[in-house]
């Protein structure tokens, strides 16, 4: 509990307030203003509705219609240092326990002669045991084994084009921004957790402190100011790539041009906008 409450800020980053600009909020703002000022009712309603992302948006010069974010993960490069996991928790005030993650890293190990890999993530109790609060680690349980093949796969919200979580949300509290991120309006979420159930990737969790659904935002508060998400920023090997797919010179555009990419669980029809290279058939 101590650890959970002494995170720098348990409220969501300001970027999450992008929800303010969603259609519903605009409608309500418009309706409220119209009621207050009956004389302006015919003018104000549509005027507010047309007002677009500026107005209440936290970053004045950011226009979400001009961007189309994408995320690339090169599993060949990942060394499983888990700095991304810790950076994410620090940046976003995620509970520092083994059960709440906006991003995590999976370790796949094929022992000699084995048909299936052994899989664990940093949240495995043995890995927790060798970790410090702000320095997650994978243990060395395979050091005496004969390992044939091993690799790490970072996981996170796939910010799908057809997100199941957005489809099932009964209130519209979770929504897709015009620049491609899937966010949660923390003031509007009723905490039913239908989205947590619907996500095929296990990317969502229930935030017990705020009693609502929570997930990766691609550090929306950072990307809308021209910065990288914390996980991308900290990755020492460049396994995580982020950028604007509208910009041909962005890292993600280069990544997509240079590689034949895969997405996780394509059979779900969610069309993720997190693209992978270097993963194995056993990764799902």
């Amino acid at each position: 509990m101590n650890k959970m409450s002494d995170t720098p800020d348990n409220t969501l980053p300001e970027g999450q307030d992008a929800g303010d600009t969603s259609g519903r909020r605009r409608f309500l703002a418009g309706a409220g203003a119209a009621c207050a000022s009956a004389a302006l009712i015919s003018v104000l309603g549509p005027a507010v509705a047309k007002d677009g992302p500026s107005g209440s948006f936290p970053t004045a010069d950011f226009d979400w219609e001009k961007h189309n974010w994408g995320y690339g993960i090169d599993a060949n490069k990942c060394i499983g240092c888990l700095r991304c996991v810790d950076a994410c928790k620090n940046e976003n005030g995620v509970a520092k326990d083994a059960n709440h993650f906006r991003t995590w890293v999976e370790r796949y190990v094929y022992l000699e002669g084995a048909k299936r890999p052994l899989i664990d993530s940093q949240s495995h109790p043995d890995n927790i045991a060798v970790s410090a609060p702000n320095a997650s680690r994978f243990d060395d349980r395979y050091k005496n084994e004969k390992v044939e093949k091993a690799f790490f796969v970072p996981k996170m919200c796939n910010h799908c084009e057809n997100p199941s979580c957005v489809q099932v949300c009964p209130t519209g509290a979770t929504f897709k921004t015009k620049d491609g991120a899937v966010l949660v309006d923390k003031e509007y979420c009723i905490g039913c957790q239908y989205c947590v159930q619907a996500c095929p990737y296990g990317a969502r969790y229930f935030n017990e402190i705020e009693r609502r659904a929570d997930k990766c935002t691609w550090c929306y508060h950072r990307i809308s100011k021209g910065m990288n998400p914390a996980c991308v920023e900290i990755c020492p090997v460049g396994a995580r790539v982020f950028g604007d797919m509208n910009d041909k010179n962005s890292p993600i555009s280069q990544f997509l041009k240079d590689n034949r990419v895969l997405s996780l669980k394509p059979e779900m029809g969610n069309r993720p906008t997190c693209y992978y290279i270097g993963i194995d058939k056993e990764v799902s």
Binding site: A98, W104, Y188, Q197, C199
Partner: protein, 407 residues
């Protein structure tokens, strides 16, 4: 880290697992409250079915329980939203789903469907008991009289014309109620069946399975309540009525077992990705919950007992005992079914490479105690409501006259 875990455990329940599961899956999102939610709506749909078999389909042998069935349906129904509200992270925001319903969400429609159905049930009960309300408003000498007077809504007129009018409304509401109650419960099945993220839920048969298991649970709860109330009231149990309900239970139960069997075997036989983990689950923790309790003892055994009862034309005391046992077994089966669907689905990891083993705590918001309280509340409501509306007599007036005559 140990301290963090210990403290965190105080707010949420961490579920142990085997194999590989996504880290976030270790906190199971839907627990026992979501198990009793479909259980209660099922009882509603089933009780309403029995009432409709009399009011709409005109099956005379259901007359003794037809009026009570509606009251039972209402009492179960009003607790349904309470189970959901108790589960929400922000119950005070629940109306967000009704103010700004998200049209693509299967869950968004719940408030409207449930609200509509509660109003329909209340109206139907009012029309059914209108003559009694008017009679009591004029003749009752107790503290209840002002309440009866209020419930007349100012209309004291009772004659052939009003009777015809009341009956017409009763029939109309009962007819609308059939798709409404079955839609409500089929919809609950859809909430699970439409999720592609879990193979255990993702099935086109889910709404149908929910619906038929609902009907059998509703018939069973009426058999049990009717018998217990009759014993308490020291009146003779209508044998023909029990026989009718046993036949209905028998028929619907066979179909339910068939649907559940088809769904399960199709899942096993298709053997898609992740089948290994489903096989492991089926022969592990699920074995006694599904094969033994839900299907074996809870469904197949009562089908056999009732088949024998039907074949041997069992009657009298044996019929009563048999019906009671079968009804109790079916109610047990259905709660196991709800548990196996809701909790079962979450125990099979979305990775399809691991299993979680959730255990319902006793105390707390998502504990057994909360579930037991919520499941008992409808019985309290039924007790109170039947003080005002006596469903066991044809009409308050004839009952009073018969009593006066007896004196």
């Amino acid at each position: 880290m140990e301290a963090v875990h210990a403290a965190a455990e105080a707010i949420y329940h961490v579920t142990p697992y085997t194999g590989y599961v996504y880290p976030n899956e270790t906190v199971v999102p839907w627990s026992i409250l979501i198990v009793i939610y479909p259980y209660l709506t099922g009882l509603v749909a089933g009780a309403f079915t029995v009432s409709s078999l009399f009011h709409v389909f005109g099956i005379e042998r259901f007359r003794p329980v037809a009026r009570f069935a509606l009251i039972a349906a209402l009492c179960f129904m009003v607790v349904v939203p309470v189970t959901l509200l108790s589960h929400l992270g922000h119950p005070e925001r629940a109306f967000n789903a009704m103010i700004t319903p998200h049209t693509t969400s299967a869950m968004a429609i719940f408030g409207y469907v449930a609200g509509f159905y509660v109003i329909l049930l209340m109206l139907e009960i009012w029309f059914m008991f209108r003559e009694d309300i008017v009679y009591n408003a004029q003749n009752d000498r107790s503290w209840k009289r002002p309440i009866y007077r209020l419930m007349t809504l100012g209309s004291y007129e009772i004659n052939d014309k009003t009777r015809h009018y009341d009956h017409k409304w009763l029939l109309t509401l009962a007819i609308i109620g059939i798709p409404a109650s079955h839609g409500l419960h089929g919809y609950v099945g859809f909430v699970f069946g439409s999720l592609k993220s879990r193979d255990w839920w993702s099935s086109d048969l889910m709404p149908a399975i929910f619906l038929f298991s609902a009907i059998v649970s509703g018939v069973s709860v009426l058999i049990i309540l009717y018998m217990i109330v009759s014993l308490v009231r020291r009146v003779k149990i209508d044998e023909d009525c029990i026989k009718g309900m046993v036949l209905a239970l028998w028929g619907f139960l066979m179909f339910t077992v068939l649907l559940e069997g088809v769904e399960f075997f199709a899942l096993m036989y298709r053997a898609r990705e992740g089948i290994d983990i489903i096989r492991e689950y089926k022969s592990g923790p699920l074995f006694w919950r599904f094969a033994i309790m839900q299907i074996g003892i809870g469904a197949v055994l009562p089908v056999i007992i009732m088949s024998l009862m039907v074949y041997f034309k069992t009657s009298g005391r044996k019929l009563m005992v048999g019906a009671f046992i079968c009804a109790a077994l079916v109610l047990t089966s259905v709660i196991f079914m709800r548990y196996n669907v809701v909790i079962g689905g979450q125990e099979i990891s979305k990775t399809m490479k691991g299993l979680l083993s959730y255990e319902v705590p006793f105390f707390g918001q998502e504990g057994w105690m909360a579930a037991i309280i919520l499941l008992s509340t409808p019985l309290v409501f039924m007790y109170v409501l039947t003080r005002f509306f006596n469903p066991w007599i044809e009409s308050a007036k004839s009952h009073a006259e018969a009593l006066a005559h007896a004196k």
